[in-house]
Symmetry: C2
Subunit: 202 residues, 2 copies
Amino acid sequence: MGISPKQFEQLQSRVRGAARRSSPSTPEVAPTAPRSHEIILGVDPSLRGTGYGVIRAAKPQPATLAHGTIACPTDWERSRCLAKIHATLREVIRAHQPTVCIVEGLFFAQNLQTAIIMGEARGAALVAMAEAGLEIFEVAPRKVKQAIVGYGAAQKLAVAKMVQRMLQLAELPKPDAADALALALTHAQTAGRYSVEGPKRV
Amino acid sequence: MGISPKQFEQLQSRVRGAARRSSPSTPEVAPTAPRSHEIILGVDPSLRGTGYGVIRAAKPQPATLAHGTIACPTDWERSRCLAKIHATLREVIRAHQPTVCIVEGLFFAQNLQTAIIMGEARGAALVAMAEAGLEIFEVAPRKVKQAIVGYGAAQKLAVAKMVQRMLQLAELPKPDAADALALALTHAQTAGRYSVEGPKRV
C-alpha cells in the first residue's frame, strides 16, 4: 500500500468530507475514526459451520479479500471442531492481516446446552483474534440486517443477495460466509458515522 | 517412573483385584485400561478464574505436578481473558505433557448470556487441549463430588479438603484449583473401573 503522506491527508479529508455530507451532525472527530484502508474480518461462529469474510473498506466500494465456511462434519468431536475454527481463523488473519474483527453478537439460543456449544465456538474464534492483538467488536444480528437490507428481520437470502451486490461477487455467497461478510460490511458502513450506541468491544 | 514389566503386571492385577472387590460384576478387561503412569490435566473453565490441576496417577497415591487459577481482572475485555486461558493452558500442557484432559462437564447456568460466556471460556480451554492432540473427557460436577467426597451435593470446601488429603498438599488448594484437581483425581479413580456410563468424550 505505497501511499505518500500527502495522499493520505487528501484521503483523510475526503473521508471526513463524505462523513459530513452523509450525516450533518457528525462531529469533526468521530469516536471511531474512519479508516479507508481498513481491513475488516467478520466472523459468524458456529460449531459445524463458522462463516468468515475479509473485506478492504476501499472507496468507492469495498473489496472482498476472502470468504468461506469452516465446515466440521457432525461425527467430529467438539474439541476437534474448535481446534479447526481456531487454526483456520489464525491462518486467515495471518494471510490477510485485518486491523479489526467483528463477531456476531447477542443472539438467542434455544436452550442452555445450545448456548454453551455456541459459546465454545465463539471462544475458539475469539482466541484466534485476541492472540493476534486485534480489536474485536460485537454486532447484533438485527443491526447487521438493518444496516445491510434496511430491515432488522430480513431473511438470510435477502442478506446474501445484498452482500453479493455490495461486493459485486460473481456468485451468491454461501449463507454462513454471507453473514460474515455482512458483519464486515456493517462495520465498514458504521465506523465512519457518529453513533450514540457505538459498537460493543468484546 | 522406572517400573519393570513384572511390577507393572503386579500393579495391574492389584488394580483389577481392587475393582473386583468394589464391584463384583466388573469384567477382566475394563473398557478404559488402567494406566498407572498416566498424567492427567483437570480443568474447570470460567472466564475470570479457570482452575487447572495436573496429577500423575502414581501408586500408592497420586502426585501433584501443578495446580493454579488463571485469574483475569473484571476490567479485562472478554477476549483478553480467553487468550490468557488458552495461552496458560498451552504452557501447562507443554510443561507437564499430560496424556489425558478432564473438563468439568454439564452444569447449570443462570441464563443464556451466562451460558454463552461460560461456553466461551470452555472453548478457549478446549482449543489448547485439542491442538495438543490430547484425549478430552467431560465429567459432571455431581459425579466429581460423588467420587471425591462420596456425596453428589457436597460443598466446595469439603471437596477442597478431601483433595488436600488425597494429594497430601501442605495447604488447602484454592477453590478453582481444588475443583480442577478433583476432576483429575476422579479420572484417576474411575479410569480403571468398569462403568456402564463411561466418561463422555468431547
